[in-house]
């Protein structure tokens, strides 16, 4: 018998610290699979966020840098500008990317910084125990919105791909999910495209991955997948919001 599925080399063979059913592990694996398939492990430098995936530097076999909260796109800019031939990716959660790091995200995109951003959106601050995130849905109960997020008080969630798709420097803005095998296959294709864009020097590519947080949502891992499908996808529709290739073809 031949092995048809096993751990990609770029994904370190150590236990993950994530809670049972947390889909970070799936997303890590997809990034590692793309690194393996493109044969770029030795030229890749990853930048970790602050949040649940803060220790992602232990999980990838490429060189890794741990950035301050929200600053990963600025750190990645420094890396990419210093070593333009390397492959640089950031891996960031919603609090990191869309709240404290909004300026760094928007400006890396508008500069057309030739990097890949993996944006994991699970509508909560997981590491600190489930507080309201910039992407928390209206009505969603969190530790800091105990009566549900009220847009009159806490405002509205940020739709990151839609926002970044308006910027000329963005090459790819695509939202995917990891709630099912077909969606996981789509997600991997998007991540692959983002890395190929970097290889071809097309500019800033962001893949937003809708993800779960069973622990802080107070759901079982399987129920959490249902919430992702039933509540998140309608608010954050999946799809390609900007693809520089499609724009060119359409012109």
């Amino acid at each position: 018998m031949a092995v048809v599925f096993d751990r990609p080399h770029a994904f370190c063979d150590i236990p993950l610290h994530y809670c049972p059913g947390c889909t970070h592990g799936i997303i890590h694996r997809l990034v590692a699979e793309v690194i393996d398939e493109m044969g770029i492990e030795g030229d890749t430098i990853g930048v970790c966020p602050v949040g649940c995936s803060v220790m992602a530097y232990d999980y990838f076999n490429c060189y890794m840098i741990e950035a301050p909260h929200g600053r990963a796109p600025a750190v990645a800019t420094g890396v990419k500008r210093a070593k333009p031939d390397s492959f640089v990716f950031t891996y960031q959660g919603d609090g990191d990317l869309a709240a404290i790091g909004t300026a760094e995200t928007v400006h890396a995109a508008t500069r057309g910084e030739n990097i890949v951003v993996i944006f994991v959106n699970n509508t909560t601050y997981g590491m600190t125990g489930g507080q309201m995130a910039p992407t928390t849905l209206p009505g969603q109960i969190t530790q800091t919105t105990p009566y549900g997020r009220d847009p009159k008080v806490q405002g509205y969630p940020v739709r990151v791909c839609e926002m970044l798709s308006t910027l000329t420097g963005t090459a790819l803005a695509q939202r995917v999910a990891v709630d099912s095998v077909p969606h996981i296959r789509e997600a991997k294709k998007a991540i692959r495209k983002a890395f190929e864009n970097q290889k071809e020097k097309k500019g800033f590519s962001i893949v937003e991955v809708l993800s779960t947080c069973p622990t802080n949502w107070g759901l079982t891992p399987v129920e959490a997948l249902d919430r992702l499908r039933n509540d998140m996808i309608p608010y954050y529709p999946l799809g390609v919001y900007k693809d520089i290739d499609a724009v060119k073809e359409g012109e």
Partner: protein
């Protein structure tokens, strides 16, 4: 002929693999806890496994190896 091997130490018993199996033959066993205290996933009918690897693709802990 296909088979899955679940890494007993790594599996956290989250059950996401059970939702992905088209043959409905992946389940969480309730007899043996691993050192971290989780009941782990297992294939309940090896002969029915088609080696599609959907369970492994869904596994957040990369704990399933698939051979065919």
């Amino acid at each position: 002929m296909a088979k899955i091997t679940v890494n007993f130490e790594r599996c956290k018993g989250c059950g996401l693999c059970t939702t992905a199996c088209p043959k409905k033959i992946v389940a969480i066993q309730k007899e043996r806890r691993n050192p971290k205290g989780y009941y782990t996933a297992e294939c309940i009918d090896d002969s029915a496994c088609i080696g599609c690897a959907m369970c492994a693709m869904m596994c957040p802990d990369c704990a399933i190896k698939v051979e065919k």
